[in-house]
């Protein structure tokens, strides 16, 4: 049973490393997601801003991050931010050194990509909430801030959860790309394990199974959350057209 040995926990096997890799994979996804959601709203607002340069920026942002392969975005952000940081450090404190961690670069790249799609989820969800809700809030004299946080946002989630759920799954799977810039997440750990054990099918198969389980769990959780947030909305509410 050599394959059981190579998965064992401890110095002889790769069980502990894999577990650690799983932690990094989940950690990266969980750290990135809230950041990506907030960015989604900001990019949506940029796209509907009344200032043309802001609107153009919003549109360019979505076009670029939706068109470039995630892996390319990741490499560019990784190397470019490294170059910028090195330059800044060299100017401020010559001789010292600071490097961008793959984790941070991965977070940035994934948040940018996910929020480009997320801004569309936000747009659709706000549409589904309906213009009437904005107008009712405005006609009651609520400030835009209160209107958004007290009236619109609580309703947005219900419409945005399927879209954001999809994006969560995409994010979870895209963390595998960060292995390319040597972050010690699942896929990278598997690659390392294979270098010594010569059992590529075993390790990549195992990783594949883990991902399928994670995705299945996520989808289950999403259904559960959907059910919970649609309580109190039994009948379709009316929106002024």
């Amino acid at each position: 049973m050599t394959w059981l040995n190579s998965l064992s926990y401890g110095s002889g096997g790769w069980g502990d490393e894999l577990l650690h890799g799983l932690g990094v994979t989940l950690g990266l996804a969980i750290a990135t997601f809230p950041f990506a959601i907030v960015l989604s709203f900001l990019i949506h607002w940029a796209k509907v801003s009344r200032y043309t340069p802001v609107r153009l920026f919003g549109r360019a942002y979505t076009t670029v991050f939706k068109s470039l392969p995630e892996i390319l975005t990741l490499l560019i952000l990784y190397y470019q931010s490294q170059a910028i940081v090195s330059w800044v450090v060299e100017t401020v404190a010559p001789g010292s050194h600071l490097s961008i961690s793959p984790f941070v670069a991965g977070m940035m790249a994934l948040a940018f990509v996910i929020s480009a799609y997320g801004s569309e989820v936000v747009r659709a969800a706000l549409n589904a909430v309906g213009k009437g809700q904005f107008e009712a809030a405005a006609s009651l004299g609520l400030s835009p801030f209160n209107a958004f946080f007290k009236v619109i946002l609580p309703q947005v989630w219900r419409h945005a959860i399927p879209g954001f759920g999809n994006l969560w799954v995409i994010l979870l799977k895209d963390t595998s790309l960060v292995s390319v810039i040597t972050l010690f997440e699942l896929t990278h750990v598997a690659t390392l394990a294979i270098n010594t054990t010569r059992q590529p099918f075993l390790f990549f198969g195992l990783i594949a199974v883990i991902y399928v389980l994670l995705v299945t769990l996520s989808t289950r959780a999403q259904k559960q959350i959907e059910k919970r947030v649609s309580r109190g909305f039994i009948r379709e509410e009316n929106g002024d057209v």
Partner: protein
């Protein structure tokens, strides 16, 4: 910037062509793999439907990069057996393995798209066909399929764009698509602008495809 592009023009062009070929091939082959899966998902409640569901869930759950590694490197663990079966020529080639991974992946997504469009075709269309006394096969081929196709076209177009981006992962298993050429040139020059040139290629390619799809959709809108 100029010499990085014009000096390496033939490599950039080769990469661009390979990206276009691999993504198109995978989407087209994937469509034909997806059709029976979609039908099984849509019409069968039994074992076929269950298998189709399993297929979709598995291949939508595995990251494409992991799938490529599994097929290309994983098959190495069974090289002797595969040689015995006369399949080794396929699995030792990164291009074939990459294409297989792309097809398996996109077929899962396309199956869900096609199933979605099949399911939205209303019962009234089926009743009309019955009333016109069309045989099920004629009804399927001449009525359902065109309607379903027109409905599925926008999301399928979207899937095509996603596949153009996804082919970039082939570079990681040493295929020289756009991304592969970029990595190669980068490793020779260590010039970050190489990746910006690659980005410009993808941007233009995706915008072109979007433009073409919009024109095509406008033309067949009446079918939906």
């Amino acid at each position: 910037m100029f010499e990085l592009y014009f000096g390496e023009m033939s490599r950039w062009n080769d990469g661009l062509i390979l990206t276009a070929v691999m993504s198109t091939l995978s989407v087209v082959i994937g469509f034909f793999v997806a059709l029976p899966i979609a039908l099984a998902r849509s019409k069968s409640k039994g074992i076929l439907g269950f298998l189709a569901l399993g297929y979709v869930n598995i291949f939508r759950g595995v990251p494409l990069l992991v799938l490529m590694f599994l097929i290309y490197y994983g098959s190495g663990q069974f090289s002797r057996e595969l040689r015995g079966l006369g399949l080794w020529w396929f699995f030792r080639d990164a291009y074939y393995c990459g294409l297989l991974a792309l097809v398996l992946n996109t077929a899962a997504y396309q199956a869900e798209i096609i199933r979605g469009s099949l399911d939205t075709i209303s019962a009234s269309v089926l009743e009309t066909n019955a009333a016109l006394n069309l045989t099920p096969w004629t009804s399927f081929r001449r009525v359902l399929l065109p309607i379903a196709f027109a409905k599925a076209l926008p999301p399928l177009g979207n899937e095509y764009i996603l596949m153009v981006k996804a082919t970039s992962l082939l570079a990681i298993i040493t295929v020289f698509d756009l991304m592969g050429q970029a990595r190669m040139i980068f490793s020779e020059t260590f010039d970050l602008r190489v990746y910006y040139i690659a980005a410009a290629h993808y941007l233009v390619l995706v915008l072109l495809i979007e433009w073409a799809l919009r024109r095509f959709e406008a033309r067949i809108k009446w079918m939906a």
